[in-house]
Each structure stands twice: as structure tokens, then as C-alpha cells.
């Protein structure tokens, strides 16, 4: 049976293209920095890589969640079956991504073992919360709180100035929450507005990818 019988082709195509572009950027960043990490075992590089690996996985699982939103009734039954496990995975991957990204900036000030344990516990708790409520809204609310705390922690440094790279990090976090929000609220935002946000989000990842490429030729 043709795919357009299950999904709105326009929305499906846009989401697929967006997810693939972000996924490619994330995985390219992850693999291109492997040599630098292998040579140095530098913790900052390690968590920078983890952040993009987890963001890639989170965007992938978000896409699967999004399929349910844009699916027609005939595809809704199988989508409903996979919704919950995918929601749990999205919660875990995205929370780990947020923690890893923040940790790249603060690892020199914080005990690594405790932080990894703490981030895993929080990620699992958020996933459980998403599982129990069967809603991604709890994830958005908790991750928003987490993000605010993380940003405060990250900027509680001697240099309070917002550097270019930290601005990019904050934008990545904001766009993630925006993308998670759009899963359940497509009527709140016109399709065109969402596409514009996604284009800006792609530009942010493109800039980071470009910066990474500069040092990993």
C-alpha cells in the first residue's frame, strides 16, 4: 500500500528531511571527533561527542513519535503500540544529550563520576515520568526546568559573557524543546512557522558542523 495512504505526504516529507539532516550532522560530528578523542581521552571532547550522539538518537526517536501525529487512522494502531517505548527512549536520549552538552562546559568544576551517575538517574526518572503519564508534555516541562538549571550552571563562570559557541549550545537546547513541543501541538503553530524554526535549527547544527570540520580535516 502506498505510503501516502498512511501519512500526510507534505508533513511526512518535511519531517523526514529535517530529521535526516539533523541526524547526519550529529553523527558526522560524533565520528569526525573520534580521532581527537582517541588521542587525548579529553573529557570535554568525550561529552561533546556524547551530546551529539544522544541528540541524533533523540531526533530519530522524536521522528518516530511524530509519525503518530501525522498518521492517518489506518496507521494509528501500530503507531500506538510503539508510542510508549519510543517516548521513553526519547526521554532518556534527550536528557542525556542535554546533560552531556552542559557537562562539556563544566567538567573541570564537577566530579565526573557523580555527574554521570546523576545524569543517568535523572534521565531514567524523566523516562519513567513520561512512561507513567504517557505524555511528552511532562518531558517538556521537566526538561525546561533542567535546561534553565543547566544554563545557569554553565554560565556561573568567571566569564559571564555569552560566547558564540555557548549561544549555539543554548539554541540547540531551545530548538530541541521546541521540536518536542510540536509533537503534540501541531494546531497551535502554523506549518510554515514550524518549518522556519526547523530551518533555523538546521543552520545552528550546520554552523557547529562547520566549526568541527575546521579542526578535524
Amino acid at each position: 500500500m502506498p505510503l501516502h495512504n498512511f501519512f500526510d505526504p507534505m508533513r511526512f516529507g518535511t519531517e523526514l528531511a529535517y530529521t535526516l539532516i539533523i541526524l547526519i550532522f550529529c553523527f558526522v560530528i560524533y565520528f569526525r571527533t573520534k580521532v581527537l578523542y582517541d588521542l587525548t581521552k579529553h573529557k570535554g571532547i568525550k561529552y561533546f561527542r556524547y551530546a551529539f550522539l544522544f541528540f541524533g538518537l533523540a531526533y530519530l526517536t522524536r521522528f518516530i513519535l511524530h509519525l503518530r501525529l501525522i498518521s492517518t487512522i489506518s496507521a494509528d494502531i501500530p503507531m500506538r503500540l510503539i508510542h510508549l517505548p519510543v517516548l521513553v527512549l526519547t526521554g532518556y536520549f534527550s536528557t542525556m544529550a542535554i546533560f552531556s552538552l552542559v557537562y562539556t562546559n563544566i567538567w573541570k568544576r564537577i566530579n565526573a563520576k557523580h555527574f554521570i551517575l546523576f545524569s543517568n538517574i535523572v534521565a531514567v526518572l524523566l523516562s519513567i515520568a513520561a512512561f507513567l503519564t504517557r505524555s511528552h508534555m511532562i518531558l517538556i516541562s521537566l526538561q525546561l526546568v533542567l535546561m534553565i538549571c543547566a544554563v545557569i550552571l554553565s554560565f556561573a563562570k568567571k566569564t559571564k559573557k555569552l560566547s558564540n559557541v555557548r549561544t549555539l549550545y543554548v539554541l540547540i537546547l531551545i530548538f530541541w524543546l521546541f521540536n518536542l513541543f510540536t509533537i503534540g501541538h501541531r494546531r497551535l503553530l502554523p506549518f510554515e512557522v514550524k518549518v522556519i524554526f526547523q530551518l533555523i535549527s538546521i543552520i545552528v547544527f550546520l554552523i557547529i558542523h562547520h566549526k568541527v570540520s575546521k579542526w578535524t580535516k
Binding site: H42, S163, V212
Partner: protein, 94 residues
């Protein structure tokens, strides 16, 4: 602040140790390496173990059975990529 007075970071110390070995025709005994690296003996031991563990240097014995330290391929690669590593870390504030 110049290089002699400011505290070197870990990556810089590793670079300096590897560079000393390379500049000594890729073979140096531990005692002169300790002296040239400007480290305390405790720090030197830690770095030496770390570099051996990471496979950046290896120990070889000469004909008289004396221990020498030499760079591995990975050690040479570290020296080659050092500017990139530092640039990357600075760029992303890692």
C-alpha cells in the same frame, strides 16, 4: 604570561614530553626526560604511566639492557594533530 611562568595544561605537558622524545631522535632515557620536562618526579611518573597506558610512548631496551622511551605511531600522530586538538578545545570551550 609566557610559557615558562604560567601553569601548563595537561595536553600541553603531554605535547612537551612527546616533543622532547621526538627531538632526541625518538629515543631518550627516563632520567634526562624527567629533567627536560620540568616536572616533579611524582608528576613525571603519572604522566609517564598515562602516556604508556594510552599507547603514545613505549619502552624499549638497548643492547646494555637500559630502558629508553620512544614514540609510537599514535605519539607521532598526537604531535601532528596537537594544533588541531588545542584549536578544537578552545573553539568549543571544552
Amino acid at each position: 604570561m609566557d610559557k615558562m611562568t604560567r601553569k601548563r595544561d595537561r595536553l600541553e605537558v603531554i605535547y612537551d614530553i612527546l616533543k622532547i622524545i621526538q627531538d632526541n631522535n625518538n629515543s631518550i632515557k627516563p632520567t634526562p626526560l624527567l629533567r627536560k620536562s620540568n616536572l616533579s618526579s611524582n608528576s613525571y611518573s603519572e604522566y609517564s604511566e598515562e602516556l604508556l597506558g594510552k599507547g603514545l610512548i613505549k619502552e624499549i631496551l638497548d643492547k646494555k639492557g637500559r630502558k629508553h622511551l620512544t614514540l609510537t605511531d599514535k605519539g607521532f600522530k598526537y604531535l601532528e594533530k596537537y594544533k588541531m586538538i588545542k584549536g578544537f578545545i578552545t573553539e568549543f570551550e571544552l
